[in-house]
């Protein structure tokens, strides 16, 4: 539904700005909405009381907005050097803007804003205009503490995307990952754009495969910390250990259900690794797979009825889709001899996974119905652990493409614009993207 809305939104924009291409709309939008980016001008915010601190924050705000909108991949930011008008001086409201000055330089959209800081409280006023229709699309006021500037600006970006695409986007989501910066593999978290990586565990052991609970309040991961063997630790983001799933054998690959305090995981206590549904406290609710051989790495469909997982029941690791009501499972992938780490898209229509071969691995996406296999990475070493952004527009993954050292990258859901996301010493792996987390 939202996907349809996205397409319609992009279509509408195309109609609005360049009716001449009106007949080509299908071509533009359906295959890849990122092919045609919306040219947008983000202007320096107006300082209402003209203090030095306010003006500095105003400049900073424009930079944060520009960076955030660029990150979505939907927009093309115009160079401020080309701007004819200065709304920060002339005025930020509709009647104070000469739209032809903006459409004339190629901007189809314009963002203006104002800022006032009074005794540590920040008042923001932000507007998004359609320069062709000469209308205001979004106009909002935000109030908060000065230190929440980034979050407030991101809230506006969410409001913009909500209006244009029908989805609030990635703002307010986080990414968990593994890094060996300290010499041992620990779990880290950072903002959606790689901002402020923070170490979450300090176990000096081996901790891998973090997974976010749906509400973003819990992380589950595999760790050798407690018993010197792979167990699953369920830990609140505030740092409290909720439970440790430490059955005999291996306890790996946790995956939270889309709603509630339950997770699927692969446990081998019965002698063979099978996937189970457990409570967040570690109590087994039921067994989800039955097969001889390895079953591992579950990932839930957004409605929680089905789950993708890896099974070697056919002789090589392949992606299967299981039904949580029965133990029936259907094979999804047939090409490639080593397909692993399925990640079901938040819109439900696609499943990303890693396909490995002799000397490398690549990220693929396949329809949940097994159709439309698409390769997203190529010729770039090992590309692993795909994880969808909460809006399904981007995919975070690990790649050792540079100097054979694994780092965290992000790309569009179509494989374009692959960029490094986390810049840290050491090797990073196993990224997991949270939903948008309510504060």
């Amino acid at each position: 539904m939202t996907c349809k809305k996205a397409i319609i939104a992009v279509l509408l924009l195309c109609f609005a700005c360049s009716p001449i291409y009106g007949e080509d709309v299908e071509y533009i939008s359906i295959t890849n909405p990122f092919l045609r980016k919306i040219p947008i001008a983000v202007t320096t915010l107006k300082s209402f009381s003209d203090t030095a601190a306010e003006m500095e924050t105003a400049r900073q705000s424009a930079a944060i907005l520009s960076k955030a909108l660029t990150f979505t991949k939907y927009f093309k930011l115009l160079d401020p050097a080309a701007f004819i008008e200065k709304p920060a001086e002339k005025g930020i409201r509709k009647k104070e803007i000469n739209f032809t000055n903006w459409s004339g330089i190629g901007a189809e959209m314009l963002i203006t804003g104002g800022i006032a800081i009074k005794s540590g409280i920040l008042n923001l006023e932000l507007r998004l205009f359609d320069t062709v229709k000469m209308t205001m699309i979004v106009g909002k006021r935000y109030k908060g503490r000065k230190k929440d500037l980034r979050e407030m600006l991101h809230r506006f970006c969410s409001d913009v995307l909500m209006k244009l695409i029908g989805d609030p986007g990635v703002f307010g989501s986080k990414i968990a990952f593994v890094s060996n910066t300290t010499g041992s593999k620990e779990i880290y978290t950072c903002e959606f754009d790689g901002f402020e990586p923070r170490r979450f565990t300090n176990y000096r052991s081996i901790s891998i495969n973090p997974a976010w609970s749906a509400d973003g309040k819990w992380l589950a991961f595999t760790s050798f910390y407690k018993n010197g063997k792979p167990d699953i630790i369920v830990k609140s983001v505030k740092g409290r250990i909720g439970s440790i799933i430490a059955r005999k054998g291996v306890n790996v690959s946790p995956a939270w259900v889309p709603k509630g305090f339950q997770l699927a995981a692969a446990l081998s206590y019965s002698g063979d690794a099978e996937i189970y549904l457990l409570t967040g406290r570690g109590k087994i609710i039921k067994r989800l797979t039955v097969s001889n051989g390895i079953d591992v790495s579950p990932s839930w469909s957004p409605d929680g009825r089905r789950f993708a997982f890896v099974s070697r029941r056919s002789g090589t690791p392949q992606i299967y889709v299981g039904d949580s009501a029965t133990t029936y499972a259907k094979r999804l992938t047939y090409s490639g001899t080593d397909n692993q780490e399925p990640c079901w898209s938040p819109k439900g229509d696609k499943i990303a996974f890693t396909s490995s071969y002799g000397s490398g691995g690549d990220i693929y996406v396949i329809g949940a119905d097994g159709e439309n296999l698409m390769q997203l990475t190529q010729d770039s070493g090992y590309n692993e652990s795909p994880s969808w952004s909460p809006d399904g527009s981007l995919i975070v993954f690990a790649s050792d493409r540079r100097k054979k050292k694994s780092k965290i990258y992000v790309m569009t859901a179509f494989g374009t614009e692959q960029q490094q996301l986390v810049f840290m010493k050491g090797a990073q792996s196993n990224p997991a993207w949270s939903r948008v987390i309510d504060k």
Binding site: I208, T222, G249, V296, S297, P317, T354
Partner: protein, 165 residues
């Protein structure tokens, strides 16, 4: 009583052996062990026993890519290990399963367990006591050789034996 005596000596030797192995930072070549065993006058464990013991620890059994099936070579090696176990019934053994870096972390933890269990089951079939044989999987987390090439991968796909007591 006498048995206990041997046991203590064996333990002492084992500790010395372990310190030696660990401090070297790499495995001791079983056929190059010339060091005298210090302490214990009239020690009953001779250099031959020590060599066998070191070999038991040092020799890993190896696997094909993405496989936990024992090769003929692996089976021969396990037969050798079983002989040692027969002579050392008090030894508490942990079999570690390891993988090369290819494949995912989670899958490799499961695969490593399968490898360790293949070795364990084979030894139990030969007659070893299940009570003293446990397994743990490290997946791809502790490579012998951190390089990314076939030579390193082959070394890393292994079941490694540790004497825990």
């Amino acid at each position: 009583m006498k048995k206990n005596f041997y046991f203590y000596i064996a333990t002492a030797l084992m500790i010395v052996g372990m310190i030696f192995t660990v401090s070297c930072g790499k495995r001791v070549d079983p056929f190059d062990t010339t060091s005298e065993v210090p302490g214990e006058a009239g020690a009953t464990m001779d250099a031959g026993d020590e060599m066998e013991r070191t070999a038991f620890i040092a020799r890993d059994i190896h696997f094909e890519y993405d496989s936990y099936v024992l090769t003929d070579e692996a089976k021969e090696m396990l037969k050798g290990k079983y002989q040692w176990l027969e002579k050392n019934p008090r030894a508490v053994i942990v079999i570690q399963g390891h993988c090369d870096e290819r494949g995912t972390n989670a899958y490799n933890l499961v695969l490593g367990e399968k490898r360790a269990k293949s070795a364990q089951n084979y030894l139990i079939d030969l007659g070893a006591s299940p009570v003293t044989l446990s397994t743990v999987s490290f997946g791809e987390e502790q490579p012998m050789d951190p390089d990314s090439n076939e030579g390193a991968w082959a070394k890393n796909r292994r079941a490694h034996f540790v004497i825990a007591n």
